[in-house]
């Protein structure tokens, strides 16, 4: 039954997201192709004053807006999928299916995670497509040489990617489950349920920050968990006074551990509210 639930959840979100991904890929290819014609042959400089240059700028702007829109739509659609199916009028169907509340909540959470991951993958693929049109063989060779010089003996790019993927997946799942528990608790309000959900989300975020600060006081290894983006950049480029290098096992343990604890707590909270306090209007 869980697979069937996930199938319908993915279909619902996919109806909106898949055309967006397709548009991103097409726009990336068009922007890349247009850029190719806007680059001066000898100097390889981009010329914005020509017609192809203007078209390229417009295409890149639209492409950027589409990526931003896709990120927002991913959150909107996965949130709507949860709210409409379990707490809206469709809840009268979905909550009377012969499945457990756990299956419902896990299916919606996994659905959110899958679409966040697919959004990331679609962005990466579309960006690569654009670069394939722009960069020549020797550009790629230069790029890989620069990367090698930057990281070289300090870290394996695969290990770095693995660490970032683990933290990204857990971080995304933590946000999705936090949104779900906030909506569920907000639904306990007799009116202004949206406001209740927002307040709950803000409250949980503040609480997590306080816990994170407290943990960092106890051990600096706990600090990466609530600044993934900053620490990811620091890891790669050695900025903010930090030294470029992979996260240590201890740092990864703290970051992943905190996320896992929060995910479990948010899931338990959501399931408890839906099972014991559900009140469909």
């Amino acid at each position: 039954m869980f697979r069937k639930l996930l199938k319908y959840d993915m279909k619902e979100v996919g109806m909106v997201m898949l055309p967006l991904y397709a548009a991103m890929l097409v726009l990336a290819a068009a922007a890349g192709l247009s850029m190719r014609f806007s680059i001066m042959k000898g100097t390889r400089d981009f010329v914005a004053s020509t017609v192809p240059g203007v078209v390229t700028l417009i295409l890149m702007l639209v492409y950027g807006a589409l990526i931003l829109g896709m990120a927002v739509m991913t959150l909107v659609m996965t949130t709507r999928n949860f709210r409409d199916n379990l707490l809206g009028s469709r809840g009268y169907l979905m909550n009377t299916l012969p499945v457990t509340t756990q299956s419902q909540v896990l299916s919606k959470s996994l659905n959110g995670l899958i679409w966040i991951a697919l959004g990331g993958a679609a962005s990466a693929v579309s960006g690569t497509i654009a670069l394939l049109f722009i960069m020549r063989k020797q550009d790629w060779a230069e790029f890989f040489q620069t990367m090698n010089e930057m990281f070289g003996d300090r870290m394996s790019p695969w290990m770095m990617l693995l660490q970032l993927v683990i933290l990204f997946v857990l971080g995304a799942l933590q946000i999705v489950t936090k949104i779900f528990v906030s909506i569920s608790v907000g639904n306990l309000w007799r009116s202004k349920r949206g406001l209740g959900a927002v307040l709950m989300f803000v409250g949980l975020t503040v609480l997590q920050t306080l816990i994170g600060n407290r943990l960092t006081h106890l051990t600096p290894d706990a600090s990466i968990s609530y600044s993934l983006m900053g620490n990811g950049i620091s890891m790669v480029f050695g900025l903010n006074g930090g030294e470029a290098g992979l996260f240590t096992a201890r740092q990864m343990g703290f970051a992943a551990g905190q996320d896992i604890v929060y995910i479990v707590l948010f899931l338990i909270g959501t399931i408890w509210v839906l099972r014991n306090k559900m009140d469909l209007q």
Binding site: S89, L93, T96, R275
Partner: protein, 243 residues
Amino acid sequence: MEELKKEMDTIQQPAFECRKLTMRYGKTLALDAVDLTLMPGRIVGLLGPNGSGKTTMIKLANGLLQPTSGEILIAGSAPGPESKSFVAYLPDRDFLPPYMNVTQLLEFYSDFFADFDRERAEKLLDSLGFEPKQKLKAMSKGTKEKIQLVLTMSRRAKIYLLDEPIAGVDPAARDFIIRTIIGNYAEDALVVISTHLIADIETVLDEVVFLKKGHIVLHKQSDEVIAENGKDIDHVFREVFAC
């Protein structure tokens, strides 16, 4: 025949049972220590004006609400995934995913309900002339209600809980709804029809339950009510619930 039916009842397990069932919304008492037992093989009218607690009782039976106190049992167990596999519920509002078309809805019901009779549903939908690829969001309110009813009644369920199935529809649609209910439920199933529109359905009811401000004020066989009062159920209802 009636005696035999009563004898059968004594050995059968109740399909629907409320024990001191109480539901409170804040300060409002929707159901007040209700005791009610309904046996399989009956069509029961859950009758009462708006706000009497009918929808609350049906939502509790479907596990969509949790009682403040007391309990509700469906075939002897609390509402849960198991009871949901044999309870067919028709809510009093649109509840189907609007982005689905008729074929997708049939697939959805086949996927989740083992007792869904797809052939029966297709026959009923064919007789109404539905286009398989027509999306729900493009349909009128009345058409959507017919589809909802067809899907619900195409389940070979043990219990049908129909919340206001004839409210807000024209007389011709009412006839279709009543015909569909009567023509499709299993003889050994319990059918609970909640409504305040008595005249249209009283001829099909075996039992009536009058619910007033969260209390059961009458629970009898339909023919007993008619015989005792010398008038039809609609008139008795109007007397009991006179403002």
